[in-house]
């Protein structure tokens, strides 16, 4: 319906005319006028390996949760294309700020999967060193970290690490978030700040169609990538189940940031194949038919089909990756069990960089209390 006064009504969120794609669900390479590019067989095999290992990581963690080893696990199943495509486009000096489902990005940043388990086992609250991986710890309060990414990018600008032309120096920052997050004030404020300062930040939104039980149409009635237009920077929708397209689009956006051209919003159009987390029951709110439809668009199968039909990989290769996945799974099980519980008394020392007398006193009381029980026990 077209409004006679204010012009055409905005298009619906289901419209996906502008979806960038380089590899069809059937595994056929297609071109794109802007983002089309070549990939070496090596690179594509690498993507396949990454995605397969990350899927195994996810399946393994899900199983560990079922066996009571983890309190909770947010599955990345189905989103491997978006995550590996994005993650592999990052340079070492780039910095990523994830939400809680970015296991594929964490993988690309060299975070040991066991560290991810630690968080969901309740052994710590995010145990890797962000500066070691240039990758923030998982963030739970939806949207809050998009501002951190923007601020970090403002710091990058102040360090003179944009637009120098030095590929090892120019730095992009990425905020990873979901379709649900786009409704949060913080995310929109991040857009405001990023645009105002032309900060080198890429907003990478995995639109997996759901925010727990709510479809992405509840958050926006137009395609999410268009949100960026309202803030004065470009937005683009890419097939998030297409690792090649995601890589290409992400690469371009990162380069734009590093070159000092400012922020970009990428909407990676994908699907959460699993439950929201292991405590969720998606049968309450979505049709299994939808899930079946999306299975046909699986990010890994299409790469496998592509590799096979072009003779880029043989059974040996697939066998090796499968074995590697088994080994990863086995190691995760083993090391998950072995993760040590934290020492309760340490929480008092973790609050501040400079310990306070107050907390030291609380720690002493705590110690005495614990000791009194040990005494009783003896």
């Amino acid at each position: 319906m077209t409004d006679p006064v204010f012009g055409p009504a905005p298009q619906q969120a289901t419209d996906d005319l502008e979806l960038v794609q380089l590899l069809t669900p059937e595994g056929e390479r297609v071109d794109h006028p802007v983002f089309g590019r070549e990939f070496s067989a090596d690179q594509v095999r690498g993507f396949y390996r990454d995605m397969t290992l990350v899927r195994r990581l996810d399946i393994e963690a899900t199983a560990l949760q079922r066996h009571g080893e983890l309190g909770l696990w947010p599955q990345s199943l189905g989103q491997e294309g978006a995550q590996i495509g994005a993650g592999r486009a990052l340079s070492p000096q780039d910095f990523g700020f994830p939400t809680y489902r970015e296991h594929g990005i964490a993988w690309c940043r060299g975070v040991d999967p066991v560290r991810l388990l630690a968080l969901f086992r309740g052994v710590d609250q995010g145990g890797w060193d962000p500066f070691e991986h240039n990758f923030g710890i998982y963030s739970i309060v939806i949207g809050s970290h998009t501002l951190h990414a923007t601020g970090y990018a403002m710091g990058v600008q102040r360090d003179g690490a944009v637009g120098t032309g030095d590929a090892t120096r120019d730095t992009a920052v990425v905020a990873f978030f979901g379709d649900g997050a786009t409704s949060q004030g913080d995310v929109n404020e991040a857009f405001v700040f990023a645009a105002s300062y032309n900060a080198p930040v890429v907003f990478f939104c995995q639109n997996n169609q759901w925010a727990i039980s709510e479809p992405s149409e509840r958050q926006s009635r137009i395609p999410l990538y268009r949100r960026a237009q309202g803030f004065g920077f470009p937005g683009v929708r890419v097939d998030g189940n297409d690792v090649l397209a995601t890589y290409a689009v992400m690469q371009a956006a990162l380069q734009r940031a590093r070159d000092g051209q400012g922020p970009t919003l990428i909407e990676a159009y994908t699907y959460r194949m699993g439950a929201h987390t292991t405590t969720d029951d998606p049968t309450r709110y979505r049709l299994s038919d939808d899930v079946e439809q999306w299975k046909l668009k699986d990010p890994i199968s299409r790469v496998e089909a592509h590799l096979r039909s072009n003779g880029f990989a043989d059974d040996d290769f697939f066998g090796e990756v499968a074995a590697e996945a088994d080994a990863l799974g086995e190691r995760m099980r083993r090391e998950c069990h072995a993760l040590p519980d934290p020492a309760p008394r340490d929480i008092f020392a973790m609050v501040h960089a400079e310990q306070t007398a107050e907390l030291a006193a609380q720690q002493a009381v705590f110690d005495a209390h614990v000791a009194s029980f040990e005494e009783v026990a003896r």
Partner: protein, 325 residues
């Protein structure tokens, strides 16, 4: 008389309130089709439709802020905040708007809104899912703050809160949702919402607890009884305004008071209760009011939360200490 979980009692109470007054709306993240992540709003969408059970965009300030507008239009919104730790994006709307419309307009505007918040720990969750934010709301004039500790109260209090013409922060002890069952008499006349309850009478020392720590204190009282010490347990139920007269009465008899909550020690409810009880019962106190609380650290990782949440031992230990003065 029906036996039900605390979750079911809240669900039934909400349903009843919606039946009684068509202006009552339920809104929040996932409250519709899913029935809420804790299923407290289960079935309401089906029976009351999406004009009255509103799945909202993922934005807490937006939820509370639009609820203010709905209240201004004559509705009585019942807002669900998914977890305690996610109430803070709505904090500005709550403390600067919800709490103040009545004051600011000299009573021309009423703000009959209930903000339901599952709170407290002990469920093995990740960060931001085990917070006890009550003190922040109790410190804010214009809000009323209540918390239930059993199914019967849950059923009655949610309805009373919805009927109240003032904004009410309704704290639900989430670890009791499905683990606690109790009798609910749907035809009983409940006591006033703003009234404390002496949950168990006793003579030697007084315990004050609310929400999830009430059962801890009852357990402590049972153990103490075995050891020959009689503890009185009082549940204020409403944290703002505080009805402390039963506590004053009790302390005048026992001379000893321990306040137990999961929220942090510093400026937790225990501080206020200690200050008021000391002022009111100065000459009756045999010992200073002691507090058994969460520590002044963020809520820790799940594997060690049992060391953080007040437990039987810490409560009994504190009772012992009140006898040492």
């Amino acid at each position: 008389m029906t036996t039900m979980t605390l979750a079911k009692a809240l669900n039934s109470g909400l349903r009843r309130a919606m039946e009684d007054d068509e202006k009552v709306l339920v809104m929040g993240e996932d409250v519709g089709t899913l029935g809420g992540v804790f299923r407290i709003t289960d079935g309401l969408l089906k029976d009351f439709g999406d004009d009255r059970v509103i799945d909202t965009p993922l934005a807490e300030s937006g939820i509370v802020g639009t609820a203010v507008g709905l209240a201004l239009r004559g509705y009585r919104p019942v807002v669900e905040i998914q977890f305690d730790g996610f109430v803070y994006p709505a904090y500005d709307q709550i403390v600067s708007q919800v709490a103040r419309f009545h004051f600011r307009t000299q009573g021309k505007v009423r703000m009959p809104m209930v903000i339901r918040i599952p709170f407290g720990g002990g469920i093995g969750a990740v960060e931001h899912h085990s917070e006890s934010p009550e003190a922040q709301f109790v410190h804010t004039p214009g809000l009323k703050v209540v918390t239930c500790s059993n199914p019967a109260d849950a059923y009655a209090m949610i309805q009373q809160a919805i009927r109240a013409d003032d904004p009410v922060i309704f704290l639900e002890p989430k670890r009791l949702y499905h683990s606690t069952k109790g009798e609910v008499d749907e035809s009983a006349t409940p006591p006033p919402l703003w009234q404390s309850r002496v949950v168990q009478a006793g003579t030697d020392a007084t315990l004050v607890a609310y929400g999830p720590t009430v059962s801890t204190c009852l357990d402590a009282a049972a153990v103490a009884a075995d050891e020959g010490r009689s503890l009185e347990v009082i549940d204020p139920r409403t944290l703002s305004p505080l009805d402390l007269s039963p506590v004053f009465d009790s302390v005048r008899r026992t001379g000893r008071l321990v306040v137990v909550h999961e929220a942090h020690l510093t400026l937790g409810m225990g501080a206020e209760i200690a200050a008021r009880v000391t002022e009111e019962c100065f000459h009756s106190l045999e010992a200073p009011v002691l507090r058994v609380t969460g520590y002044d650290t963020p809520y820790p990782s799940a594997r060690i939360e049992e060391f953080y949440v007040p437990d039987l031992d810490r409560v009994l230990d504190a009772v012992d200490r009140t006898f040492g003065f």
